[in-house]
């Protein structure tokens, strides 16, 4: 079964970039979409609930508001995330590390904890975590972000195993260089290192999320799918450094 008949999809950080593309694609598939974001700006035609995902009480209120209006959550896309100013590990301060772990990892625990009970009860649910290629391979200057995203991938595996027998899947998507505001400052020459020779688009990521949410992906769980144009697939020895 698909849960869209009686429930909703919640996307955190869904007002722009990858989150906005994911929200739009889920809506196109017939999902009622609720977006949780830090400010009160609109997010397409989607219902918006305002919360900083690091604030568990605010997050709980946002889940309540959305489910009150749109029905029980059947799909959760944990998308809200932040990179930090590039800094070497030797100089990375505690506050930056804590902020990266709070938003990119701890908030996912809280949101998933809120979403799972109704999914378990429905015997159908989809959790998709937006990780990063930085969680798969090293990312100099982004140690806290990368560690949080690697943690998110690990969280995905364990959560998937715990709930698989209830028809609930938990997967991660690991975008590479995607054209968004968050990556605008990433050097253009990085594109040359991407086997596909181009940055991805938010729609590339949304297409993968859309598949993972669909009934066709019912047997895919605990997986991390890289959407990175081959960036994390390996090193090309024929390219000069």
């Amino acid at each position: 079964m698909t849960g869209s008949g009686d429930g909703c999809a919640i996307v955190t950080g869904g007002s722009r970039g990858i989150g906005a593309a994911v929200a739009a694609s889920l809506a196109a598939d017939g999902w009622r979409v609720g977006v949780i974001q830090r400010d009160g700006s609109t997010a397409g035609d989607h219902l918006v609930a305002v919360a900083d995902v690091r604030d568990t009480e605010a997050l709980e209120r946002a889940f309540g508001e959305i489910q009150e209006a749109l029905g029980p959550v059947r799909v959760l896309v944990n998308n809200a995330g932040v990179r930090h100013a590039p800094q070497l590990v030797a100089a990375l301060d505690d506050a930056t590390v804590a902020a990266a772990l709070d938003t990119n990892l701890a908030a996912v625990f809280a949101a998933t904890r809120l979403a799972l009970p109704p999914m378990l009860r429905a015997r159908w649910g989809r959790v998709v975590n937006i990780a990063s290629v930085a969680g798969l391979v090293g990312s100099p200057g982004q140690a806290a972000y990368a560690a949080a995203k690697a943690g998110l991938i690990s969280f995905t595996r364990t959560a998937a195993m715990e709930v698989a027998r209830r028809g609930v899947t938990v997967n991660a998507v690991a975008p590479g260089l995607i054209d968004t505001e968050m990556t605008a400052e990433v050097a253009e020459d990085v594109q040359a290192a991407i086997p596909a020779r181009r940055a991805g688009s938010p729609a590339d990521v949304a297409a993968c999320v859309r598949f993972l949410v669909s009934d066709a992906a019912a047997y895919v769980t605990g997986a991390t799918i890289a959407v990175d144009g081959g960036l994390s697939a390996g090193i090309d020895p024929t390219r000069s450094p």
Binding site: L116, P117, P118, L120, R121, V163, R165
Partner: protein, 80 residues
Amino acid sequence: MTTPGGPALEQIVLDALAGFGHDRARLVRDADLEQLDIDSLDLIELVQILEEDHGIVIRLEEIQAVDPQTLGDVLDVIGR
């Protein structure tokens, strides 16, 4: 909402567990949770059903705190 207790509460819990697919005939107080294959996910769902459908608020941690071995242990902690 008046919260049910005693036999009514027991009935609610047993009905819920049967609804999860457990054999109703085997759901007796002395039955071992492990042998019944009642696990933490069942308890999470049970807590949710008790609250949403019957107004009985109990936290999963309260059930886990008594380290329940039998169905009776679960019924006792919910009925407290």
